[in-house]
């Protein structure tokens, strides 16, 4: 048989033809016999909604002073809100974005790492976040000063990639914290020591003075009850006088290559670093100087630095949800902060350029990044999209910014 006369039949030519014609009416028959019920919610939706609720309504349940400028706040579900029964699950090291209304009426949100472990949080149905305030702090003091037991908060679902993964990380972990950057490690140390038997951790905790070594009792206790698995190295930069405050050997100075080499102990290590941007840069240099090779470094930092310079301000024309707004901005603050000052309530989560939640489109003008944001997609970069939380204005701008979908909206 020649190829071009190939004749394939399934049930015989006529029956195949009839079948072809009737498979259209087959469709109608199947529709006729199917259910006329309205289709209901399904499985993955349930899991999605419990893991990633659009907003969590929480109440401050307890306030515990950690030192003069730092409090831990216990947050529980506000059961007066419909559907608000349980807190959303998280991985140790993740953060919550918390919305606050300032006295000026502006609403802003800031990310805070969760400091209790998933086990503790699940048991208590409560998150603990630990917040340092003060003039050099990333957190505007005004944000939390009025919080008291019973204060109602709107909080995001848990976010962030700053967590341990046994498929990726080494069996020896080195955690490096600067100042209030210790908060995710409180959760991670607790979680890993109780659930991952083969993992050992060295925590290097940097602070200025002994009072700023947050959770020192907890880490002392963990070190005593996990010999060989957990080592705590507190490092103070401004004082060596720890008499009566810390019952532990304390190193002095900055977290340098010698301390890091000791923490890594010649073992292949995954490093987790959390703290101010200046500490990240310092540690990067020390690692190079000491010729220390790491399996990988994961970072969490607290916001893009920048303060008003008072230089000639720029004008930003903002297109948002079908409206156009014109605001004024300082050249040394991020576009995101300018949008917040302008009362536009823009979306934000990580505030370090990595998560992309604030993504917008730069239609006209020029911005600069102190450091190229890690999370920017290549096609976005090429097509003029930007991350306002990391970008500072260089000229007058025209931008298109999505309205805030979740925690900053009043529904």
């Amino acid at each position: 048989m020649k190829k071009d006369t190939l004749k394939v039949t399934i049930r015989g030519p006529l029956r195949d033809l009839w079948r072809f014609i009737s498979h259209i009416s087959e469709r109608r028959r199947i529709f006729r016999h199917s259910s006329a019920e309205r289709p209901g919610e399904k499985h993955s939706i349930r899991l999605r909604e419990s893991l990633h609720p659009e907003v969590q309504y929480l109440l401050v349940d307890k306030i515990q002073a950690e030192n003069d400028s730092t409090n831990s706040y216990t947050l529980i579900p506000d059961t007066s809100q419909p559907g608000s029964i349980s807190i959303a699950a998280f991985s140790a090291g993740q953060y919550l974005s918390v919305e606050v209304q300032l006295e000026s009426g502006l609403r802003i949100s800031r990310p805070y790492s969760i400091s209790n472990s998933p086990e503790e949080a699940r048991r208590d149905n409560a998150y603990v976040i630990t917040i340092k305030t003060g003039k050099n702090s990333f957190i505007p003091e005004e944000m939390v000063k009025n919080w008291e037991v019973g204060t109602a908060l709107k909080v995001s679902d848990p976010w962030g990639q700053f967590y341990h993964n046994p498929l990726r990380d080494t069996e020896h972990l080195v955690f490096i914290a600067g100042g209030s950057g210790i908060t995710p490690f409180r959760s991670m140390v607790s979680d890993i020591l109780s659930n991952q038997e083969n993992i050992s951790i060295v925590l290097v905790q940097g602070a200025a003075v002994p009072e700023e070594l947050l959770f020192s009792d907890f880490f002392l206790n963990m070190e005593q009850s996990n010999p060989g698995r957990f080592k705590w190295i507190p490092v103070l930069s401004e004082t060596t006088d720890t008499e009566g405050i810390i019952k532990h050997t304390v190193l002095t100075g900055f977290i340098n290559g010698v301390i890091l080499a000791d923490a890594m102990n010649s073992r292949e290590s995954s490093l987790f670093i959390c703290g101010p941007q200046a500490m990240h840069s310092y540690i990067d240099k020390e690692l190079v100087k000491a010729n220390l090779k790491t399996k990988m470094i994961r970072r969490e930092n607290y916001g893009i630095p920048g303060s008003p310079s008072g230089k000639e301000p720029v004008k930003i024309t903002v297109k948002m949800a079908g409206s156009t707004h014109i605001i004024s901005a300082d050249r040394d603050e991020t576009v995101l902060v300018a949008l917040e000052r302008g009362g536009l309530n823009p979306p934000s989560r990580c505030r370090t350029g990595s998560c992309g939640w604030c993504r917008g489109s730069l239609l006209k003008g020029k911005t600069r990044y102190d450091k190229e944001p890690e999370g920017l997609r290549s096609a976005d970069r090429n097509a003029g999209y930007f991350h306002p939380c990391a970008a500072k204005p260089e000229s007058n701008l025209v931008v298109d910014i999505p309205a805030n979908p979740g925690i900053n909206t009043d529904k």
Binding site: V8, I24, F31, R32, S34, R359, P402
Partner: protein
């Protein structure tokens, strides 16, 4: 507040959802000067067609390869400025139970020759099978270009297409006496449709494999996110508007026609024409007031079976692919190629031997990740139901376990060692897809194309299955079925139909 507010013009067409179908529809409409407003609940365009960054790696969320000429030609459009890389081979198949290791080349002749060489005596059946596939593909092309078609020409020229048009793939393989060993080598593409070969519409299957094998496949630079931003840019440049973080909570109707949408924020936008990239399940089930939905619409939705979903492990590796021994672009790894049993295994996320489709972007595009690194993504099908018993607090561990299993399976089948090279790892489950795209039940593929719900019945029934005037559907649940090219081009069809309705 030192700002001024200016209200903009009301839209002529609202597009709900900015998946590729919605974007393509909005692009086609705005290009013709029609005022379009796209409403997207997420903060990014593209739905599944996007990417994400971890450390120094940018991962592709869903596209394995863009196959077939029509989507590729469409995207070569000057408005888009996209750059493509050719995928080197069709696939490498590793069947662990019988030790099959088969490299399938692109090109109908090359592919057929490779099968015939691997399965002695299969020449006649393999050639016949590929010939019927070609005829189905050509018939679809004819039907796409000629509406209404000439029945006499259709029967005369495309007789095999007609006779196999209501059949499933196994029936045609039986009819040409295709040996089992040859089926094992030809069937792996089943996973791009996600329906077993004893259930899938042959004409759709045939057209799919023919277009892949005959034309080859490509990936874009900048991941499929580049498709989405290109469309988004072209839409805004043509005067259209896209609003992100704008979830539609209601589709408003009166007297059998649509008249607008209401957003989660409470804002109502009036508009007589709507293109929905959102599934009919969601539109009829959740968005339209139940008092307005005819029971026929519910029956239609309930009769159709949403396709399955995926579990994906995204790996950024700290060595180049030569060092790792990753020679190929696309790996299909399975215990066997009995597609019915493979589909069955999707219901159990603890099945020790699932099928995985794994791609190494660097094999098509060396610059896909920084020098000295490699991107590998492992995909396994999974039924959303397989995730319903998970306690949210145990979810991270459940993902770790599935990822661990797939990495072990890959290493064992390929004889490579990748675990110690993992620098970045991320996973996606049906929950993840549900979260980012709001696809019904976290499914990735649209309604299953059984013969009665294949392209031909969908196209022929389209006008009878419209329950509201002014409403068109596009995307993976629409008439062309799913996949990147089909979902996207369904937007073009929806735009054409909307324009016809506007002019009538």
């Amino acid at each position: 507040m030192n700002s001024e507010t200016v209200a903009d013009d009301s839209p002529e067409v609202v597009v709900i959802g900015s998946g590729l179908g919605g974007l393509c529809a909005a692009y086609e409409l705005s290009k013709k000067g029609i005022r379009v407003l796209v409403l997207e609940r997420h903060n990014l365009p593209g739905g599944f067609s996007t990417s994400f960054v971890r450390g120094r790696f940018e991962f592709e969320t869903s596209l394995h390869e863009l196959g077939g000429a029509s989507a590729y030609e469409y995207l070569k459009n000057d408005d888009f400025q996209l750059e493509f890389k050719k995928v080197p081979e069709a696939y490498r198949l590793l069947l662990t139970e019988n030790g099959t290791d088969f490299l399938a080349p692109f090109g109908i002749k090359e592919f057929s020759d490779a099968i015939i060489k691997a399965v002695p005596g299969s020449e006649g059946p393999v050639k016949d099978f590929m010939k019927v596939c070609e005829e189905s593909f050509n018939a679809f092309t004819y039907l796409g270009d000629n509406s209404p078609p000439d029945p006499r020409l259709l029967f005369k020229k495309y007789g095999n297409f007609i006779r196999t048009g209501a059949a499933v793939t196994d029936e045609v393989a039986d009819a040409v006496k295709l040996p089992q060993a040859a089926r094992d080598l030809i069937y792996p593409y089943w996973c791009y449709l996600g329906v077993a070969t004893d259930k899938v519409s042959f004409s759709l299957w045939a057209s799919m494999i023919y277009s892949y094998l005959n034309f080859g496949a490509y990936i874009p630079k900048g991941r499929s996110h580049a498709f989405s931003v290109s469309f988004a840019r072209a839409i805004t440049e043509a005067g259209g508007e896209i609003r992100y973080n704008a979830e539609v909570s209601k589709l408003n109707t009166a007297e059998g026609r649509v008249n607008g949408v209401t957003l989660n924020s409470g804002e109502t936008i009036n508009c007589p024409h709507i293109v929905s990239n959102v599934s009919p399940h969601h539109v009829f089930g959740n968005l339209i007031d139940p008092a307005q939905v005819p029971s026929k619409a519910y029956k239609m939705v309930n009769a159709r079976k949403p396709g399955f979903s995926f579990f994906v492990v995204f790996l950024g590796l700290d060595a180049d692919r030569e060092t790792l021994g990753l020679t190929d672009y696309s790996y299909f790894i399975a215990p066997h190629m009995d597609t019915t049993r493979l589909v069955e295994s999707l219901k159990n996320r603890h099945d020790p031997n699932p099928m995985q489709a794994t791609i190494c972007l660097n094999a098509a595009d060396e610059s896909a990740s920084p020098q000295g690194t490699t991107i590998l993504s492992i995909t396994a099908g999974t039924d959303p139901k397989a995730w319903e018993d998970i306690d949210p607090w145990d979810y991270p561990r459940a993902k770790e376990e599935f990822a661990d299993l797939l990495i072990r399976q890959f290493e064992k089948a390929t004889g490579t060692e990748i675990r110690s090279h993992i620098e970045e790892i991320e996973t996606a489950s049906p929950e993840t897809f549900s979260r980012y795209t709001a696809a019904w039940d976290g499914t990735v593929y649209g309604y299953e194309p059984a013969p009665w719900d294949g392209i031909i019945p969908r196209v022929l029934a389209d006008n009878k299955e419209r329950f509201f005037k002014g409403l068109q559907f596009c995307g993976g649940n629409a008439s062309r079925t799913y996949g990147f090219g089909s979902s996207m081009l369904s937007g073009k069809t929806a735009a054409e139909k909307t324009i016809a309705e506007m002019n009538s």
